[in-house]
Amino acid sequence: MLTLLAVALLWPGVRLSELDLGVLFDGSNADTMGTFLSAFWPPEHSGEFLGLLWQATLETLAIATAGMTLALAVAIPCALLATRVLSLSALSRGGRPAWWAQALRWPVRGLLIVLRSIPEIVWALLFVRAVGLGPTAGVLAIAITYAGMLGKVYAEIFESVDPLPARALLGAGASRLQAFLYGVLPQATGEMLSYSVYRWECAIRASVVMGFVGAGGLGQQMDLSMRMFAGGEVAAMLLTFLALVLLADLLSRMLRWRFA
């Protein structure tokens, strides 16, 4: 009975996804793939190509770093606006802001949700159409998506630290910014830094993938080589990508260990 139900549910799924493993082993397809894959070894390693690869790798790193910087510039003000910790009306109400104060925070929270819910590659596709092919689109896409994620996480980190110092400062007449800088930030720095470094690592992976829609970096070169069926070049770029991800992982683990 359960099996029947599962099959009844899955069959439309298989039809809709046009699943057909046979295509992979079909004569001419397999031939094309075979020649493509056989070109994977040895990976392309001529001097000129390596220069290009180096440029593309640097571009990927630069896109991730610049995107993260812009994202931070947007995320920190948004997190300050969205967090409940700096609420004045919460002072006299045992840490719960008045309803109208919460309502004022909602637009910022909604903005952050929209920014991070649209995948970065969709933003990249939109920006490629708006500002043209190249790294600018990638930087803007990372900046927007990651601003949404960082803003939300920062706001949550601010709310998770001990609120008493900030409340004491606010109660003694400090401005909200002062209360944040001296009451909240000292407790939150470690966690914020380690999360930001982790996101930077994600940004590197994302910027490679975004290249496929024309947003610059390693991904764009990979897309070009794939379209030209240049197996050796694709293999070299995949290896570079793996090395880059491993290095970023290592660096981020090292930095987080220092910050934590």
């Binding site: 996804s17 295509v23 640097l58 571009e59 819910s117 995948p119 496929f212």
Partner: protein, 255 residues
């Protein structure tokens, strides 16, 4: 060491940021000029009036179903394939098989879904089939590793007891190991499915079917109104999946 972390790391970060902006030579002047901004505004205003005609909505519903089907079938295939690879990767068939299957799992996992999709479009042609295969390949790597870890952590006593009582290898696995492993396998698979729904909606950018392909086509044809509806549908799908999984987690995991 404290000097190092106090001065060197911040200085290094600032240098990296400056170098990044210098390397990219972003044309912010051209972007922020009156001309550039006007162009951006004109482009953005095209998205303000989503196309809500019934025909287009029907196409979007079909695209959404296709995306869901791709993610579900891809995840199921991946779970099967992952379990097959997890058995050798957990060391059940000797060291050589373990090393080989671990290498294979790592390779499958290290290549992002979108790169797999681009490769699969070459191998299997345009359409959702390529997307399903790409999801299956990448997810098999992820699930295989998680399954192998779960397999190593299950207590071996029940299976050992069955073996000692004279049952075969397969029966001992099915009745001794699998029951305690099952909840974990299901939880991991569902979690990956959630990720794959999100991923499936963008795989179409390289031609692998679903909502992504619709978005790519309508943007290429400069049909901003249609594209904006597709983006709204994606947004709705992501938010629905998010809230559904949050609800399910609260109901069953913390329970």
């Amino acid at each position: 060491m404290s000097l190092l972390s106090r001065l060197l790391i911040p200085a290094g970060l600032v240098a990296a940021v400056v170098a990044a902006f210098a390397f990219l030579q972003l044309e912010s002047a051209a972007l922020l000029s009156r001309d550039g901004l006007a162009q951006m505004a004109a482009y953005a205003s095209g998205f303000m009036a989503p196309d809500l005609s019934p025909a287009h909505l029907q196409a979007i519903a079909r695209g959404t179903l296709e995306t869901l089907a791709m993610s579900a079938i891809g995840t199921l295939l991946a779970a099967l394939f992952g379990l097959l690879l997890a058995l050798p990767a957990a060391g059940r068939f000797g060291l050589l098989a373990q090393a080989a299957s671990r290498l294979l799992l790592n390779a499958l996992r290290a290549i992002p879904e979108l790169v797999w999709a681009a490769l699969m479009v070459l191998a299997a042609g345009l359409g959702p089939n390529a997307g399903t295969l790409a999801l299956a390949l990448h997810t098999a790597g992820v699930l295989g590793r998680l399954f192998a870890e779960a397999l190593e952590n299950t207590p071996p006593q029940p299976a050992d007891a069955l073996r000692l009582a004279g049952s075969g290898h397969i029966a001992a696995f099915c009745y001794g190991t699998l029951p305690s492993l099952w909840p974990q396998l299901v939880a991991y698979t569902l979690y990956r499915w959630e990720n794959n729904i999100r991923m499936a909606s963008v795989l179409g950018f390289v031609g692998a079917g679903g909502l992504g392909q619709m978005l790519y086509m309508s943007l290429s044809l400069f049909q901003e109104a249609q594209a904006s509806t597709v983006i709204l549908a994606m947004l709705a799908m992501v938010l629905a999946v998010d809230s559904l999984s949050a609800w399910a987690r609260q109901r069953w995991v913390r329970g």
